[in-house]
């Protein structure tokens, strides 16, 4: 099952990042002071498909 995604805001409040909500991904960011925020009003989650070999 794919990990859920959450929005984190930087400690300076100048950046919002969408992150996989796993302890491994969250620990470094939360420890630097990033914190959870509600999803921005307009956002789009883009799932990048791997490129096919030509």
């Amino acid at each position: 099952m794919a990990a859920q995604l959450v929005f984190l805001e930087s400690p300076q409040g100048d950046e919002i990042k969408e992150v996989e909500a796993t302890p491994e991904k969250l620990s470094p960011l939360l420890s630097q002071g990033w914190h959870q925020v509600p999803a921005p009003a307009k956002h789009e989650t883009v799932v990048l498909a791997p490129k096919e070999d030509k």
Binding site: T22, S31, G33
Partner: protein
Amino acid sequence: MANVNELMNGWGFGKQTAIGTANTTATIWRHTNLNTKPWAKVPVNEDDRAEIGKGHEFPTALFKSHYNMPTYEISKYASSEILAWGMAFSLGNVVVTGTGPYTYVIVPALGATNPTGLELPYFSFVQQIRPGGSAVLDEILVGCAIKGWKLSIKNSPGRASAMFSCECVATGQYTTPSGITLPAVATPHEFNAGMITALTVNGINYLTGGSGKQFVSMDASWENNFRPGFFPGSGTQDGYQIQGRFEWGDRAFAIQFVVRVQSGSTEYANLINQTTGTATITFTRDAQNSFTMTVQKMGFNVVELSNTDGIATLQITGVQLYDPTNGLLTVSVTTPQAGICQ
């Protein structure tokens, strides 16, 4: 007159919007408590015995001073609900995901980046005995915070093998009657030591392999060392000064554990070689209820040969180091309870 076993406790699983704004009924749950005492309110009076000019040394008048609220212990068998609540309110930086069950990932907040500075989330505490028109006790304490906690795991049967207790503080602000209708007692999803599915400390696995079955007990604790919260404008209750903030001081995270000593025990070597590694403790009850505490970098401060109930043991005191990448501590709790610390 009432027996103390009529005492009902409820407190906010959601956080207050401000230190002086009580939780509403919708964000308060009701739990049992192994601490059988009510939370005492202690208004303190002072007098004028030290002042000259009265013609004698004796006090002549009383003056209202402040609410000296004692700490209060919430003592529970460890469960997914209470661990999520205790960790979230005591550590401060919380991420929640899911639509039931909910997973809370929690780390200690940093003062430099925490949106509320050195202050942690606040909750309200309700205590009632026969609430209603002739209540023996019905009050809500506003602006409570978790000062510290202790998680104890030991070799024993049943719920007592995994215990969690919190020391809480309160500002002195309260409302009586509380105006809160407590819900039915919650049924927490409790853990016991038999549900531990990971127990690895500094590279030593105490569940399987050569050190399997060697574990005896562990105590982990957290202390926020709050500073007194009296200051100009901190507020009053009944004419007595109350505290208007709880700011953490030098926080302390301690772990001590006991293992059986055996041929080839590597704990001494880890101490002497100053080996560090992660420490992971996981309880898994089912897909809806689990708890993992990861200490990001742990070394051993003391390893002492001892005797525990007639068995040769090592009593180990850990040193929890701050890892530059992952920080000090990460807790992940999955529980059916929504809205914890939200």
